[in-house]
C-alpha cells in the first residue's frame, strides 16, 4: 500500500465529545474509534479478531473467559498499556458511564488482572453474547493513569483524548473540523498508512453532497447525505459505494405502536397497520432500493435470525377488513415522526398517506429531538418512528424492546410500546444464557414467530446506509462496524 496522504470525512452532527466511553453518540464513536481501541475487532460475519487482546479462551461451561493482551502497546502519551487499564476501563469507568455495557456486565461476576498482560472474566452463568462485547464502541480501553480517581465527566483529558489507536488527536475547531494525525508509535507495524484524517462539520445535507462533488470530501459515511442524493452521487466518476460495515449494528426500523391505549392497543389494529404500509414503495423511493423490508424483530444479518417467518404483504383490503372487525371508528391516531432529517420526514408522510388510505385517521405531530425523546419515553404517542441497533446478538439489541422488565418511563430505547408477555420474557431470558448456540436458535425462533403474530411494533425495514467515497480510498471498511472502526488500514491510491 502507498504511504501518506490525507483523508477528509464528513462528521454529522458534530460530536459533543470524543470520549468514546462516556458518550455513545454515533459520531463520537466514528471519530473516537480512530483514537481508542477495543480488545477485539469483528469482521463482517461478526467473528472476533485480535487487536489489543492477542488471544482468548473460555472454559467449557462458558463461564470463565481469559484474555491475553498484546505487549509493547503504548498510550498516545507514551505510557504502557496493561491489564490494569483493562480492569479499570471495564469494571470502574465504563460500568459507571456506559448504560448499555452496564446491562451486560450484570452477567459478570468479577474481572481480574492475573498479571500485567492477562485478564480473567468470571461470569455468573454462560452469557451467549459475551464474546461480542469487545468492539471499540461498546468497550473501549481507556487510560487508567489519567482517569483513576478523577471525576470522569469533567476530566480535562476529555478535551484531548488519549488512546492507543492508529491516530492521535491533534485539533478540534469547534463548528468546523476535527483533525487527527498519524500515531507514529502505533503497535501494529506498518500502520497506519495515512498521515492525517480530517472530520468536517457541515450541518446542511445538501452542502455535504456538494462538498463531496467538489472533491473537498473523500468519504461520506452512511446517512450523511440525504437518500435522494445517493443515486446521483454514486453515478459520479471515481465514486465508489458500499453498504458494508453495518453488520454489527444492523439498524432496524419500526413504528412504535402504543400497546397501552387507543386503537393501537388492539392487535387487529396493529396487524392492519402492517398490511396498510407499502414498504416496498418506501424502500424504493426513499431508500433507493437499499435495505430490506423487515418481517421479524431480528435483523437478517444478526445472529439467530429465522428466515422462515410469515411475511406481511402490502394489502390494504386486508387492513380494512381487520379495522372493520375491530370496529375502528375513525378515532384520531397521532404519528410522531423522527426528527432526523428529510427521509424520515418523507417516510412519515408516506405512512400517513398509507394509513389514511385504509381509513385510519392519522395526524402528524411534529417535534424536535428533545421533544421526540420526551414523548416516546413518556409514552405520550400513538405511533412513532424509530430505528435501533442490534449489536450482533438478539440478547444485546432485540430483547430490550420486548421484555416486560424493560417497561420503564424515561427512556425511548427500551420497551416503549409497553408490550408485555410473560412467555416472551421467559424465552428471552433463557435464550441469553442458553448454551450452546443451537439451543439459543430454537428459543429465538419461537420468540420471532410469536412476536410476528402479536405485532407489538410495526417493523419497517432493515436499513442500509451506503457509504459513499472517492475510489482512491482503499481498504476503507474492513470490519463489521465500518466507519466506526479506525482508518488504520486505509490508504490512498495516488
Amino acid at each position: 500500500a502507498e504511504e501518506g496522504g490525507t483523508i477528509n470525512v464528513v462528521v454529522q452532527p458534530e460530536p459533543p465529545s470524543l470520549m468514546i466511553g462516556m458518550y455513545s453518540n454515533a459520531t463520537t464513536q466514528q471519530v473516537g474509534g480512530n483514537i481508542f481501541e477495543g480488545l477485539m475487532r469483528y469482521d463482517q460475519d461478526l467473528n472476533p479478531h485480535p487487536l489489543l487482546a492477542t488471544s482468548w479462551e473460555s472454559s467449557d461451561d462458558g463461564k470463565t473467559w481469559t484474555f491475553h493482551l498484546k505487549e509493547g502497546v503504548t498510550w498516545h502519551d507514551g505510557q504502557p498499556f496493561t491489564s490494569a487499564d483493562v480492569v479499570f476501563s471495564i469494571d470502574k469507568l465504563l460500568r459507571e458511564t456506559n448504560a448499555r455495557l452496564r446491562t451486560s456486565l450484570a452477567h459478570v461476576e468479577s474481572i481480574e488482572a492475573t498479571d500485567d498482560y492477562t485478564v480473567v472474566f468470571q461470569l455468573k452463568e454462560s452469557f451467549g453474547p459475551f464474546i461480542r462485547l469487545f468492539e471499540v464502541g461498546t468497550t473501549p480501553m481507556l487510560p487508567k493513569h489519567i482517569y483513576e480517581g478523577t471525576d470522569y465527566k469533567t476530566n480535562p483529558a476529555n478535551h484531548h483524548p488519549i488512546g492507543t489507536g492508529p491516530f492521535k488527536f491533534a485539533e478540534w475547531q469547534k463548528g468546523s473540523y476535527i483533525h487527527l494525525e498519524k500515531n507514529e508509535n502505533y503497535h501494529v507495524q506498518g500502520l497506519p498508512h495515512l498521515d492525517d484524517v480530517y472530520w468536517h462539520v457541515i450541518p446542511d445535507a445538501a452542502s455535504r453532497a456538494v462538498a463531496f462533488e467538489t472533491g473537498k470530501i473523500d468519504v461520506l459515511p452512511g446517512g450523511s447525505v440525504e437518500n435522494f442524493d445517493v443515486p446521483r452521487l454514486t453515478e459520479l466518476d471515481n465514486t465508489c459505494v458500499t453498504t458494508d460495515g453495518w453488520e454489527f449494528f444492523s439498524p432496524h426500523a419500526w413504528l412504535w405502536l402504543n400497546n397501552r391505549q387507543g386503537p393501537t392497543a388492539d392487535v387487529r389494529f396493529r396487524q392492519a397497520v402492517m398490511y396498510a404500509m407499502d414498504r416496498e414503495f418506501a424502500k424504493d423511493v426513499l431508500w433507493n432500493g437499499y435495505g430490506k423490508v423487515a418481517n421479524s424483530p431480528v435483523g437478517s444479518k444478526t445472529k439467530f435470525y429465522d428466515a422462515d417467518l410469515p411475511a406481511y404483504e402490502y394489502n390494504p383490503d386486508k387492513a380494512k377488513q381487520l379495522l372493520k372487525a375491530m370496529g375502528y371508528n375513525g378515532e384520531p391516531v397521532r404519528i410522531l415522526p423522527m426528527p432526523y432529517g428529510e427521509t424520515w420526514q418523507r417516510w412519515t408522510e408516506v405512512i400517513k398517506q398509507n394509513l389514511e388510505e385504509v381509513g385510519i385517521n392519522a395526524k402528524i405531530e411534529s417535534t424536535d429531538v428533545a421533544g421526540w425523546n420526551q414523548k416516546v419515553s413518556d409514552w405520550d404517542y400513538d405511533i412513532s418512528f424509530t430505528y435501533l441497533y442490534q449489536y450482533g446478538d438478539p440478547a444485546l439489541g432485540v430483547a430490550r424492546n420486548y421484555i416486560s422488565s424493560n417497561i420503564a418511563k424515561g427512556s425511548p430505547w427500551n420497551n416503549a410500546e409497553g408490550y408485555s408477555n410473560a412467555e416472551i420474557d421467559q424465552w428471552f431470558d433463557a435464550a441469553a444464557t442458553a448454551f450452546p448456540d443451537e439451543k439459543r436458535q430454537e428459543l429465538y425462533s419461537k420468540i420471532q414467530n410469536k412476536l410476528v403474530e402479536d405485532v407489538p411494533v410495526a417493523w419497517l425495514m432493515e436499513l442500509e446506509f451506503p457509504t459513499i467515497y472517492n475510489c482512491k480510498v482503499q481498504n476503507l471498511i474492513d470490519s463489521g462496524i465500518g466507519i466506526n472502526d479506525a482508518f488504520g488500514t486505509a490508504w490512498i491510491k495516488q
Binding site: A205, A206, A209, E226, F228, D229, R232, F281, V285, P337, P339, E342, Q345, R346, T348, E349, V350, K352, Q353, K363, I364, E365, S366, T367, D368, G371
Partner: protein, 279 residues
C-alpha cells in the same frame, strides 16, 4: 374617495393588487376545484413540469402533484401572513396607542417592554418559539406575530405622540370626550394610513418568515406550504431544481405583489409623497 382613485391610477400598485386578488381566489376556491389532498402520491416521483398533461407542474420526490401543493400552499401562506399580521396589529396598536397617548411612565414601561422584544434577534426568537411550542400552524402564526408587533407599537406610538397635540385632539378634550373616544375616534383613524402601509408590508414579511421556518423544518407537518415545498426539495435541488424553483418564485411573486401594493398605498395615503401639499 381620492385615495382609491390615486391607487387605481397607480399601474404598478394595481398590478400587485391584481396578483394578490388572483392568489386569494386561488387560495379560496382552488382547493374546491382541485379536489384531493396535495399529499396524495399520484404518480411516479420527479416528473418534470409540462411533461405530463395531468400534472402540469410535475410531481415531487414522493410523486405528489406540485400544482396541487402550490394551490394549497397559497392558502396557508396568505392565511399565516394575514392572521399573524392581524395579531401583531392587535398587540401593537393598543400598546403603541396607550404609550403615545398617555406618555410619561405609561410610555416608559410599555416602551421598555417593547424594547425587550426588539432587542432579542427576531428570527432567532421565532425559531425558538416555534421549536419550543412545537411546529403547528398556530405556533407558527403566533411566533411570527410575537416577533413582528414591536415595529407596529413604535409606529403607532410615534403617530399618537405627533397627533395627540393636534388641535382637533385638543378640541375633543375640551369637548369633554373620554380618553377612549379620543384614542379610537380622533387619533386612530388619522394614524391609520401608515399602519395600513406597514401592515401590507408585514404580511409580506410574515410570508417570508413562514417559508423560512418551514425551510428549517419548523413547518406544520399537516399543512402543505410553499416553504415546506422548498425545504422538502432542497435535498433534491440537483436532480430536480424546479421543485425548489417553482415555490420559490411563488413566494417571491406574492411578496413582490404585496410590496407593490404597499408602496402604492404609501403613495396614495401619504400626502408628503403624493405631491399634494396641504398648505
Amino acid at each position: 374617495m381620492n385615495v382609491i382613485r390615486a391607487l387605481t391610477q397607480n399601474k404598478v400598485a394595481m398590478f400587485g393588487f391584481a396578483v394578490l386578488l388572483l392568489l386569494s381566489l386561488i387560495a379560496i376556491f382552488g382547493p374546491m376545484l382541485y379536489d384531493g389532498s396535495p399529499w396524495k402520491m399520484v404518480q411516479r416521483p420527479f416528473i418534470p413540469p409540462f411533461a405530463n398533461d395531468r400534472f402540469l407542474l410535475g410531481t415531487d420526490t414522493l410523486g405528489r402533484d406540485v400544482l396541487a401543493g402550490l394551490i394549497y400552499g397559497a392558502r396557508i401562506s396568505l392565511l399565516v401572513g394575514l392572521v399573524s399580521t392581524v395579531i401583531a396589529l392587535l398587540i401593537g396598536i393598543p400598546l403603541g396607542a396607550y404609550a403615545g397617548y398617555f406618555g410619561g411612565w405609561v410610555d416608559e414601561i410599555l416602551m421598555r417592554f417593547t424594547e425587550v422584544f426588539q432587542t432579542v434577534p427576531s428570527f432567532a426568537l421565532a425559531v425558538v418559539l416555534v421549536a419550543i411550542f412545537e411546529p403547528s400552524v398556530y405556533s407558527i402564526t403566533g411566533a411570527i406575530a410575537i416577533v413582528s408587533w414591536p415595529p407596529v407599537a413604535r409606529l403607532v406610538r410615534g403617530e399618537f405622540l405627533a397627533l395627540r397635540n393636534q388641535e382637533y385632539v385638543l378640541a375633543a378634550k375640551l369637548n369633554g370626550q373620554s380618553h377612549r373616544n379620543i384614542i379610537l375616534k380622533e387619533i386612530l383613524p388619522n394614524s391609520l394610513s401608515p399602519i395600513i402601509v406597514l401592515a401590507s408590508l408585514m404580511v409580506a414579511t410574515a410570508i417570508l418568515l413562514e417559508s423560512s421556518l418551514s425551510f428549517l423544518g419548523l413547518g406544520d407537518p399537516e399543512i402543505m406550504s410553499w416553504g415546506y415545498m422548498i425545504g422538502a426539495a432542497k435535498t433534491v435541488i440537483r436532480q430536480a431544481w424546479w421543485l425548489s424553483f417553482i415555490p420559490g418564485v411563488a413566494i417571491a411573486v406574492t411578496v413582490l405583489a404585496l410590496n407593490l401594493l404597499g408602496e402604492g398605498l404609501n403613495e396614495a395615503l401619504n400626502p408628503k409623497l403624493s405631491g399634494k401639499r396641504e398648505h
